[in-house]
Amino acid sequence: DAMVIQNPRYQVTQFGKPVTLSCSQTLNHNVMYWYQQKSSQAPKLLFHYYDKDFNNEADTPDNFQSRRPNTSFCFLDIRSPGLGDAAMYLCATSLIAGETQYFGPGTRLLVL
């Protein structure tokens, strides 16, 4: 089945230790998104790619970076995680920007 896959499902890291979260898709969608979601809050868009074009949200901290080496994969790098970065990180794709998004199961990040 076509889907969006996120690895790992749970990630524990230490304060200040770089971490990378990965997302892959078999939907062949043009657009990929990364969201941060804290407990009982709405998902907050960090950035998105339209093909190779990178679009950063104005309020996304510099600590967060992203890479999309090909259509199928997208990575979220947190260079120096702080305690406030503990959250669920959701990857999503869409065929047409602004239309239906397909989400992965998320990666829950814990920062010690």
Binding site: A42, P43, K44, L45, H48, N55, A92, G98, Q101, F103
Partner: protein
């Protein structure tokens, strides 16, 4: 920001009853979407309604859109225990910025 606000924040009903949740937004939109999120999981797309549409149905779901009031409602009929989840509305503005802005969500609990 264009964030939607949902009402109520939490709703508990008996199984078999209908559940209605509302979403209000601030600026003109291209479309409005509803998503469901089970605890600790990714979001699942339910319905997309475009700005020129007033009502859409999908199974037990009915969505209405009133662009004059900048509001939408999601009705779930004959609720089931499996409908227990958080429900989010998301809007795409008509500025063609390729992204969705999510509302604050309604936590729905179905009591067996």
């Amino acid at each position: 920001s264009q964030q939607g606000e949902e009402d109520p924040q939490a709703l508990s009903i008996q199984e078999g009853e209908n559940a209605t949740m509302n979403c209000s937004y601030k600026t003109s939109i291209n479309n409005l979407q509803w998503y469901r999120q089970n605890s600790g999981r990714g979001l699942v797309h339910l319905i997309l309604i475009r700005s020129n549409e007033r009502e859409k149905h999908s199974g037990r779901l009915r969505v209405t859109l009133d662009t004059s009031k900048k509001s939408s409602s999601l009705l779930i009929t004959a609720s089931r225990a499996a409908d227990t989840a958080s429900y989010f509305c998301a809007t795409e503005t008509n500025f063609g910025n390729e992204k969705l802005t999510f509302g604050t969500g309604t936590r729905l609990t179905i009591i067996p």
